[in-house]
Amino acid sequence: MDSNKRSNCSRPLLGTRHECIGAIGLIVAVAVISQFLDDYFLTLLTTISIYALAGMGLNLLMGNTGLISIAHAGFMGVGAFSSAYLIHDVGLPVLLSIILAGLITSAVGMFFGLPSLRLKGVYLAMASFAAQIILYWAFEVSRWFTGGQDGRFVDRPTILGVSFFESNHYYLFVLAFTVIGAIVNFNILRSKLGRAFSAVRDRAIAAELMGINVFRTKMAAFGLSTFYAGVAGALFGFYLEFVAIQAFTLFISIQFLAMVIIGGLGKVSGSILGAAFIVILPEVMDSIALMITPNAGEMAPIRMGVFGLIVVVFLIYEPHGLARSWRRFVDWGLARMGVNR
């Protein structure tokens, strides 16, 4: 790609200069700070990063292409079990297994995406609901692959002699994937494919008139989206060192939906902020519950209710999600510092 084409047809890797500097600063800061955190905070941070990766996938599908999936936890499960199987039963190297797990999930995702050619909105949601049920059932019965109800163990990776066994080291491993995922996501949205996604979302008929193959574009969205989910699933498996089918239920799929909607549809930052929100909010509520009563268990049912309520309030007052709040905050900060964007 020569410089002329780049300047005209795509923006630099991470957006404008300020956005780029800000993003790199943030990544370095998180990487450094993570090395000094205790296990509790590392758990939160790692879960956020993995969920963010899965969220980016779901957001490509929902926010950018206007499709829907209530099966993303199921797809994550496909990735988690595939990588565990490929490493321990087939004996493939870790990185290759992660990529292959992504591709396998992608194939499964495209298969379950086939109804999107004919179905839209609520109907497509129902079809993907069925996909979640089918996948969960398949996990239960394929004992050779998943260990069934018992689940299966996975080792944290060692790559070229470098061990990622310690949680703080493993976090860096996850962070690398999340960062690459974000950069790729960001650039897809600025590419021809990204524009085809928006075109299909906004007006499928007009997209067809532009020469876009709507079916292929939808399949690409499902393939990419579930590739992200598959890789996130693999990383999740390594992190827990144990893959259990209970980690990939319908409830988690719905949580992912909430995550992208609260974060902000169609925005990379939305996927990340949504993941942070969905992981941190229950923790904050637990701390508050502990302040009120020493027996936090009593508060559990109330916790779920309050969680739901906060989500609803959020949707009403910030329908464009946390990504919009974040944008306003950054703009305000930059304006205060006198930076001209």
């Binding site: 047809c9 499928a204 067809e208």
Partner: protein
């Protein structure tokens, strides 16, 4: 350039709309299909561009030939790659994308990126209303501006044949004049081939070289624009400029 032979089209397999129509569009000329609501004009262009499927319609018999090649029943994206660009009735711009992004979408089928930039500049100059609002979301443009955008977007695809369906729809008379002025300009300066579908007979015949009148799925009348302007039947039924006010 384009020949349509004995085209019959049905929706949902039973509702017959076209009952065998044949016509031709010579290279570099503008041909118009005229007719009342529901006569089958839009169906004809959809059958050519491959957009029937989205309405659950299908070509029953007949042939569509583009520059000697049979392109009957080809999908919409294939037809775009062959240079047949359909500007649908109702404009269909992407409301959330900016004017510039809409135009870039138009160039989706173009591989050569430097020519895209060149085209973008050219058409933004040619349509000053768009040039002034490149970063505005298309949903915020007026009807006339959206029509201009839809035309400009079609031109971004380097069309060999433009199928234009009712560009006048929903526009005020002054905007209709403006839109047709633009179509006429482009057609003449770029030697483009146009198939124009219109209810606004008067405007269509100003732009077109030749015309066909469709009624209930049949071609009832054809002739040069001048002949059709003089035709009594057409004057009575579509133009309302008959000297004899007592016709039925």
């Amino acid at each position: 350039m384009l020949e349509v032979h004995d085209l019959r089209v049905a929706y949902n397999r039973v509702i017959r709309v076209l009952e065998g129509i044949s016509f031709a569009v010579p290279k570099g000329k503008a041909v118009t299909l005229l007719g009342a609501n529901g006569s089958g004009k839009s169906t004809t262009v959809k059958a050519i561009s491959g957009m029937l499927r989205s309405d659950n319609g299908a070509i029953v018999t007949g042939k569509v030939v583009l520059e000697g090649e049979d392109v009957t029943r080809q999908g919409a994206s294939r037809m775009v790659r062959r240079g047949v660009i359909h500007v649908m009735e109702g404009r269909f711009v992407f409301p959330d994308l900016t004017v510039k992004e809409n135009l870039l979408m138009g160039a989706y089928s173009i591989k050569d990126r430097s020519s895209i930039t060149e085209d973008l500049g050219r058409w933004l100059d040619f349509f000053p209303v768009l040039g002034a609002r490149t970063n505005t979301q298309a949903g915020y443009l007026s009807g006339g501006e959206q029509q201009m955008l839809a035309i400009a977007r079609a031109l971004m695809a380097h069309p060999r044949l433009v199928l234009m369906d009712e560009p006048s729809m929903g526009l005020s008379p002054i905007l209709v004049q403006e839109v047709f002025g633009v179509i006429s300009d482009i057609q003449k300066t770029h030697q483009l081939t146009f198939l124009l579908v219109e209810q606004n007979v008067r405007m269509a015949l100003k732009v077109a070289d030749y015309g066909y009148v469709i009624e209930r799925g049949f071609i009832r009348l054809e002739g040069t624009a001048e002949e059709l302007r003089q035709n009594k039947h057409l004057q009575d039924f579509y133009l309302g400029i008959s000297e004899n006010e007592n016709h039925i």
